[in-house]
Symmetry: C2
Subunit: 384 residues, 2 copies
């Protein structure tokens, strides 16, 4: 039995529902951020992140800071690019616009390669762009939370390494790490950034990154000082190395409670083979996507290979808007999210299916959500 009070199941694309033990870890009694027990916990968290990202390369460095997913963009732009550099930003929705805006804050020219809504830039378009301009970094949103579009990392990274080998491959994995397969070493990725509150299943408040040795070399070779203080790797790299070596170290105070919760969620994730976690999410997603189709509804991402496994963005029937359906779902104990992509925000809703809602067999969140969606649409006059 859950120790949480009864509440509507949060099935948005993050924050997600949390396991009881993770939430209980949030209440951990106060510890010194430089005392041995906490330093040990933080060190273990960093080691576990290597496993989650599937990297065994000692030159890679996991980074965990108090902040949000957005701080991950900031770290990339502030540390890996310098004013005048160029970034190629693959656009699959809202979050590429924001990442581009972040680059421009740092004097970096961001060129967006846009796909039609629900699709992703094709490899031949990426190849053409990489051949025309020398980009310091290429960024890709692994799963765009605004559209539910999944990008293909392996082939994309191979292409970058072949066509423009000096370009760093940066992955926004905020809505993918923990539910989509990511092989950091094998796929030759340079940065994967994420946040705690999505498929990792820990409350919001942590910016989490894996950075390759190659990216760290690029950082070390920069000619100018990063013009950001809180996210500067000049300050953080030695601290993370020390924490991982279980040596106390201080730049800014971490949140012991969030780190404990992350320790619990990572321990749970790694207690089973990662492949099984990814296939659980895939199976739940396919079941959901079939049910959506059976209801006569369309997804923003029509092609199966472009569809995320941890969320589904669903067009509402003609004439029905999110403010009609969402309150009806809430009454049935389920919280979905409205649209976010600015051009079509009023036309669709988003259903997040990550973490315990998928992997905990004692929960019926997904079945309840599908039933609620069907009944809710019927109540507002939709006939499937």
């Amino acid at each position: 039995m859950s120790s949480q009070p009864p509440h509507a199941a949060l099935l948005i694309p993050g924050p997600i529902e949390f396991d009881d033990a993770v939430l209980q870890s949030m209440s951990h009694y106060s510890e010194s951020h430089v005392g041995a027990p906490f330093v040990n916990t933080f060190g273990e968290v960093l080691s576990m992140l290597r496993k989650l990202f599937q990297t065994t390369d000692a030159a890679s460095q996991p980074i965990v800071l108090s902040g949000s997913g957005t701080l991950g963009w900031d770290q990339v732009a502030a540390n890996l690019t310098e004013p005048g550099d160029e970034a190629l930003v693959l656009h699959t929705g809202y979050f590429a616009d924001s990442f581009a805006d972040c680059f421009e804050t740092y004097g970096v020219k961001a060129t967006q390669l846009k796909a039609p809504i629900g699709d992703r830039p094709q490899l031949d378009e990426v190849e053409k762009a990489l051949k025309e301009t020398k980009y310091k970094v290429l960024t890709v949103t692994h799963v765009d939370t605004s559209t539910g579009v999944l990008s293909e990392l392996k082939a994309l990274s191979e292409l970058v390494h072949k066509v423009s080998p000096e370009t760093l491959v940066v992955v926004d994995g905020v809505c993918s790490v923990g539910c989509e397969e990511i092989r950091f070493d094998d796929w030759g990725l340079d940065v994967v950034l994420t946040a705690s509150q999505k498929a990792i299943g820990c409350p919001a408040g942590l910016s989490i990154l894996m950075v390759s040795g190659r990216a760290i070399e690029v950082f070390k070779a920069r000619k100018t000082r990063p013009t950001s203080y809180f996210g500067s790797w000049k300050n953080w790299l030695p601290i993370m190395q020390n924490y991982e070596a279980k040596k106390p170290s201080y730049f800014a105070t971490p949140s012991p409670q969030l780190i404990h919760a992350l320790h619990t969620s990572l321990s749970q994730i790694l207690s089973r083979p990662l492949e099984q976690r990814f296939s659980d999410h895939k199976a739940a997603s396919q079941k959901i996507k079939k049910a959506i189709g059976d209801l006569g509804l369309k997804q923003l991402a029509p092609k199966p290979e472009n569809q995320a496994n941890g969320m589904t963005a669903i067009y509402l029937p003609e004439g029905i808007a999110p403010p009609q359906v969402l309150p009806s779902l809430l009454k049935k104990g389920v919280i979905f999210a409205g649209g976010l992509h600015k051009e079509i925000a009023t036309k669709y809703i988003r259903f997040g299916h990550m973490g315990v809602s998928v992997t905990d067999p004692k929960r019926d969140d997904i079945d309840r959500a599908l039933k609620a969606l069907k009944e809710g649409l019927t109540e507002v006059g939709y006939k499937a």
Copy 2:
């Protein structure tokens, strides 16, 4: 009775011991960051912060971001200064060095006005400096966590307004907000920045600021774009205004659990007159400082008017170093911090006395700590 497992009392200058109800709020079930219940909670937190900082000026703006106290410096330097500007940094220990480093990251010349260890820059020295150079901002560490030195804000701010009225008065209140009197409006302050884990009594993970209408005007009048993304007020000001008006809004995902814990701690603080809270801390501090003196020990800050009320930095007897005393205190169930000021780190220890350890009459943390200190020193050969 506490619901927390038995553990050594954390009496460092932050994080501090937390109230049970605050820690339980950390385990709040998952909520949407744009859903009405959470937006309402966040809005109340911002309104309560106005009371804590004693501002009724509608032009002031409270800001709460996921991050740490350090992110507050970042927000000040990134948003209120531009490359080429000058900052006068009053130095009472470690944290002024870091704030100066933060300014320099943003191309701002930081001039430090240093006092001998344990003292603070005098008003006539500040006046002289302000007359010689036009500073965009003056920063003062209200309580320097490395030395326990308390700065005098009221007279200092009056001086700045008189001698250099365009200079913004920025207060690092990380170790003072919640235990030292701060009258934001009456004293004419422009920014007070702090963090959640000190006298506010909420776990670490939140950067908290109060910004004056005058500072916001200076921000709006800047000629260049802030070169920081995550901490940019361009992104955050509208979000905070919306949260306070209880309208959903999104730039980066906040931590609902930390915001709930902050809501609980602020509700507890504001349930009593603030004056009483400040006088409780003063009384506990005087008792501690008297006991320290009775033990024959000296403080880093010898002058009573320079002594912080929420912490005490204590010189160890000649020949005794922190690594001899601290483990002995830990065995007696009390955690103190080692020295931090780089020039004398091995010669002193720090005792934090903030929040529930002072205000909760059911706790005996302070008496236990004084007893442990006396016995611990005797064990290592000290004769008072």
